[in-house]
């Protein structure tokens, strides 16, 4: 990794020391994350101001809450950036166990449920969703475990990693939160691949996953509506009305946007609540409708920058833990972006996966910014 040239910057007038991590902040990465968040704020306001006003609430209610989350997220990012990344590695099991404990706790009556799923805690008027933090905890835990492994990864090593991932995966799966389960699985697979796991082990893993999924179907652990939502994108005419309605309205919204969009706050699909869950999972439809292809393309470009920088950080990390963690985060962002945007356009199944930085939701936003902080930390450590 030493062959990667150190980026040369024009020395700014600054009192920050040569070795200060602040000197090595990956500005494009931060800019992309903040840019997506600001775009998200605009879209959240657009999709919520009208219905909030209709209920007699402050039209900017969701916007203000998300701004608070954004500030908290940036604070979290700074904290994650300034801590010693070694601590993250050392305390990874603690975070992991904490996450698992919270996932268990959310199943008790302390947790709140909605839409048939028990997913979060109600804390001081805010909903705290442990499954979204479990993504980072799992990424950190697996990175730490993989970093500890010396030599070639053996099959028992793979099983160890899989077992560690499987516990939170199972817990989020039964919430049920298939989206997060898929994210966790992706993080795990990405980290295994980056760690150099042999292909045949991965094939075995894939087969095991297949058996697990078929088993889940047979045991009716997966609920009917989930199957419908997952398969709805394959044939919108054969599924239940609700499932195909979501997709149909979503596609109408995006399609109606055209090249330049209907204009900010002017989308009829958005303003009149035709697209369900629009400020959260279907936030991309607001971009598609009101800002058109131009806006949607801008969003994808921002994600491309984000993923490109994350990939670079993974590639240039000083140690395996940094590489594995960055790779896990990269996989997390990539799968979320792809599945989320894909589902709004009917090329991916509809699962409850938020669009990183853009969708409304504090837990996800804060967790995502902490991930950015960790990435910045990994990168900055390279220069130490």
């Amino acid at each position: 990794m030493a062959d990667v040239p150190v980026p040369r910057r024009v020395a700014a007038k600054t009192r920050i020391g040569e070795n200060s991590p602040v000197r090595h902040v990956d500005l494009p990465l931060v800019a992309a994350a903040v840019g997506l968040s600001v775009l998200g704020l605009l879209m959240i306001y657009s999709s919520t101001h009208r219905s909030a006003a209709e209920f007699g609430a402050d039209p900017g209610l969701y916007l203000k809450k998300q701004i608070v989350f954004l500030i908290l997220g940036i604070v979290g990012m700074v904290v994650a950036f300034v801590i010693d990344i070694g601590l993250a590695q050392a305390y990874a099991p603690i975070f992991y166990l904490g996450a698992v404990a919270l996932l268990l706790l959310v199943r008790t009556p302390i947790g709140s449920s909605a839409l048939g799923a028990q997913r979060w805690f109600q804390v001081a008027g805010f909903q705290f969703s442990p499954s979204l933090f479990s993504r980072l905890a799992v990424a950190g835990m697996l990175a730490a475990v993989l970093a500890d492994m010396k030599g070639e990864i053996t099959l028992p090593d793979v099983w160890r990693v899989v077992s560690l991932a499987a516990i939170p995966m199972f817990l989020v799966f039964i919430q049920p939160d298939i989206g997060t389960t898929i994210i966790l699985a992706t993080i795990m697979v990405a980290q295994l691949v980056v760690a150099g796991t042999r292909v045949r082990y991965l094939v075995v893993l894939a087969l095991a996953a297949l058996v697990a999924i078929v088993g889940a179907f047979q045991l009716h652990i997966i609920k009917q509506y989930q199957i419908e939502r997952l398969t709805g994108f394959l044939d919108s005419t054969q599924t239940s009305q609700t499932a195909s309605y979501n997709l149909q309205q979503s596609e109408i919204a995006i399609g109606a946007g055209g090249i330049t969009g209907t204009g900010y706050l002017k989308g009829s699909q958005t303003n009149l609540d035709f697209v369900p869950e629009q400020h959260t999972d279907f936030i991309f439809t607001v971009v598609g409708e009101e800002l058109g292809f131009a806006g949607a393309a801008l969003l994808l470009v921002l994600f491309a920058i984000l993923l490109w920088r994350t990939y670079r950080i993974a590639a240039q990390a000083r140690d395996p833990f940094g590489t594995y963690l960055a790779a896990g985060i990269a996989a997390m962002f990539a799968i979320q972006m792809f599945v989320n945007v894909g589902m709004t356009m009917g090329i991916m199944p509809i699962t409850g996966i938020p669009l990183p930085f853009v969708s409304y939701g504090g837990s996800a936003l804060i967790a995502d910014f902490i991930a950015i902080g960790l990435l910045l930390n990994i990168r900055a450590r390279r220069f130490v």
Binding site: E251, I252, G255, A256, G258, Q269, D273
Partner: protein, 631 residues
């Protein structure tokens, strides 16, 4: 990954975008019909005969009432003073969908509305709203002509699919002018495109509005003043008849009903059309009870007030038919204008072995008469002889009594050209058609009920009876008015019209309605004048209507006319008078008929006289009922 997303995005937003944009618009638009205002019906002076007002209506939403409906119906029944059973019946109307409020009471008072609104807890699911209603500023006139409106029925939607777009509470014309000109009066439904959200809530904001096109007004040639005059004169005549003793039947005259038509012979327009008994058209603004409806409908024997006797009733015309028999005889050259025939007290068909005697109304021989004298005196035996000439012609043309076949029915042919046996084509629904009996008609009767009628070949007596407007022949009062108008105007037969023109609500004419010329009397203009001149003697001393017109200023306004006294087995005679004035250049033709009203000169002629007095603004004092005994 990005490639897949961008490709899909490009497809959705660029290639397929127009289709999605269209769907987005359709998604948010709810089309709400906007009702047009129904057109008014005006008289020829522009007076409003039928206008629009609003009434309070009580509606019940069956879904909201739910299982409390018994209590609610009981309270509504007490409040509105309507039987609960009637409310239940209206509430069960299947024309309304379960979530649509059903109107259960119309035209309720302001106080009742306030009670319902104030005590909403007592009346769950009950709402009140104002609904448009027809108003009748001229009061109870022209009820049968105007007709009425009612909620669209399933049959009407089937017949006119355009009605399906209208809400079920919409009213359409279901009788009279309201029905005949419904397509003009109705207007065109407007559409309000409302924006709605996904939940279907209307956001009181709209993208587009197609305003309704209010219904056009229909202006009638009916003159409210003359219509009222005609109705009052008819009612008065009937009232007088009720107090007139009929020596033949030994009873006071039944006078079960009557009709009057006032027509402008020069244009074929109807100026007044009265039918008695009548009713107040505003009864339709409230639900009509079954009992009331039965009373209005009447019985098969005596139809009720809904029945427009002027166009729906076909009656034997009696002697009012004679001018047309005379005209046909002139046409066939059976007689000339100066041919004199005897007028004996009775008549027998030459060579008739059954010796059937046909009586004149007057048993005395009044000597030889020309057609003029025969019309003035209404000499039956004169016309029997004309009838017999037609019979002879029928036989000469090849008719065989034995077989009931062959020959040409000359008389029916000529009378058919004068409009008999056909409907007039007036612009009103349910017009009846008079009967012009023929051999074929009799054969059909025979086939219908062989036991009642037996074998029925056409016999000389049939032609002879027809010659005095008796037997099987019937006409509606309007058919007769059209035929007399032709005598008045020199021979032109019109398909008469009640409507004059269609106007926009602003008063611009959309369409002029003109009576169509449907034929001409088959005699020369000079001969028509001859008959008219002859008829002007009827009201003068020596004529059958002379007593009825005593004191009428005939020197300034000569009246030509003909009395008729039609006999129907088992009933008192039907009284007719068909007149026109001024006889030298008639401005009006007035036909009056009173069922079981006695002789033509007794009841019908005074009715016509009263109307003419009103038409020409004459004040000649009291009109005495005639003492005429003619037919």
């Amino acid at each position: 990954m990005f490639g897949a997303l961008t490709t899909r995005l490009w497809f959705l937003q660029v290639l397929a975008s127009p289709q999605f944009a269209k769907q987005a618009v359709e998604n948010q638009v709810r089309l709400v019909p906007i009702m047009p205002i129904r057109g008014q019906i005006l008289d020829r002076e522009g007076n409003v005969l039928v206008g629009n007002g609003s009434v309070f209506t009580v509606l019940v939403n069956r879904q909201i009432v739910g299982d409390r409906s018994d209590a609610v119906i009981y309270r509504l029944s007490q409040l509105l003073n309507v039987p609960a059973s009637a409310l239940v019946k209206r509430l069960n109307n299947q024309q309304y969908l379960p979530y649509q409020p059903v109107p259960v009471a119309q035209n309720v008072s302001r106080e009742e509305v306030y009670t319902i609104r104030e005590r909403a807890d007592q009346y769950p699911g009950v709402t009140t709203e104002t609904q448009p209603v027809r108003t009748y500023p001229q009061g109870a006139i022209a009820a049968q002509i105007l007709g009425h409106v009612g909620s669209i029925t399933a049959e009407e939607i089937k017949a006119q699919p355009a009605l399906a777009k209208f809400p079920p509470t919409t009213v359409v014309g279901q009788a009279g002018i309201e029905q005949e000109y419904d397509t003009y009066l109705r207007g065109v439904l407007g559409t309000q495109a409302m924006q709605a959200n996904a939940a279907g809530d209307i956001l009181n904001q709209y993208y587009a509005k197609i305003p309704p096109k209010d219904g056009d007004n229909v202006q009638l040639s009916i003159d409210a003043r003359i219509q009222r005059l005609a109705e009052q004169s008819l009612a008065q005549g009937i009232a007088v008849a009720h107090n007139t003793y009929d020596s033949t039947s030994g009873k006071y005259l039944q006078a079960t009903g009557g009709a009057v038509i006032v027509m402008d012979p020069k244009t074929g327009r109807i100026v007044a059309m009265a039918s008695n008994p009548t009713f107040d058209p505003s009864i339709w603004t409230k639900p009509v009870t079954t009992k009331e409806y039965r009373r209005l409908s009447g019985t098969g024997q005596v139809p009720g007030a809904l029945f427009n006797r002027a166009i729906q009733g076909a009656y034997p015309p009696g002697s009012t038919f004679k001018p047309f028999i005379g005209a046909a005889a002139l046409r066939q050259h059976f007689i000339g204008e100066h041919t004199a025939l005897s007028c004996p007290g009775s008549y027998q068909v030459p060579g008739d072995t059954s010796h059937t005697i046909f009586h004149n109304w007057n048993p005395f021989n009044t000597g030889f008469l020309t057609l003029t004298g025969a019309l003035i005196q209404s000499c039956d035996t004169f016309f029997y002889q004309l009838g017999y000439r037609f019979w002879q012609a029928y036989v000469r043309s090849g008719y065989k009594v034995d077989t009931g076949k062959g020959g040409t029915e000359l008389l029916q042919h000529d009378l058919g050209q004068m409009g008999f046996g056909k409907s007039t084509g007036v612009d009103l629904p349910l017009e009846a058609t008079g009967t012009l009996p023929t051999t074929a008609f009799k054969r059909a009767l025979e086939a219908q009920a062989p036991k009642v009628y037996g074998r029925l070949p056409w016999l000389p007596g049939d032609t002879i009876n027809m010659a005095i407007g008796q037997g099987y022949v019937t006409t509606t009062p309007l058919e007769l008015a059209v035929a007399y108008s032709a005598i008045a105007n020199g021979g032109t037969m019109y398909a008469p019209r009640v409507a004059w023109r269609i106007q926009t609500p602003a008063g611009d004419t959309v369409k002029a309605i003109k009576p169509k010329v449907v034929g001409h009397l088959p005699i020369s203009r000079q001969e028509v004048g001859f008959i008219r001149n002859a008829l002007s003697g009827v009201t003068r001393p020596g004529g059958t209507a002379a007593p009825a017109f005593a004191g009428f200023p005939l020197y300034s306004i000569p009246v030509a006319g003909k009395t008729g006294t039609a006999d129907i087995v088992g009933k008192q005679p039907y009284s007719w008078f068909a007149g026109m004035a001024p006889a030298n250049n008639p401005k009006y033709v007035v036909v009056a008929m009173v069922e079981q009203g006695g002789h033509g000169g007794t009841t019908a002629a005074p009715v016509v006289r009263r109307i003419l007095q009103g038409l020409f603004n004459l004040n000649t004092g009291n009109v005495v009922a005639g003492t005429d005994q003619s037919t």
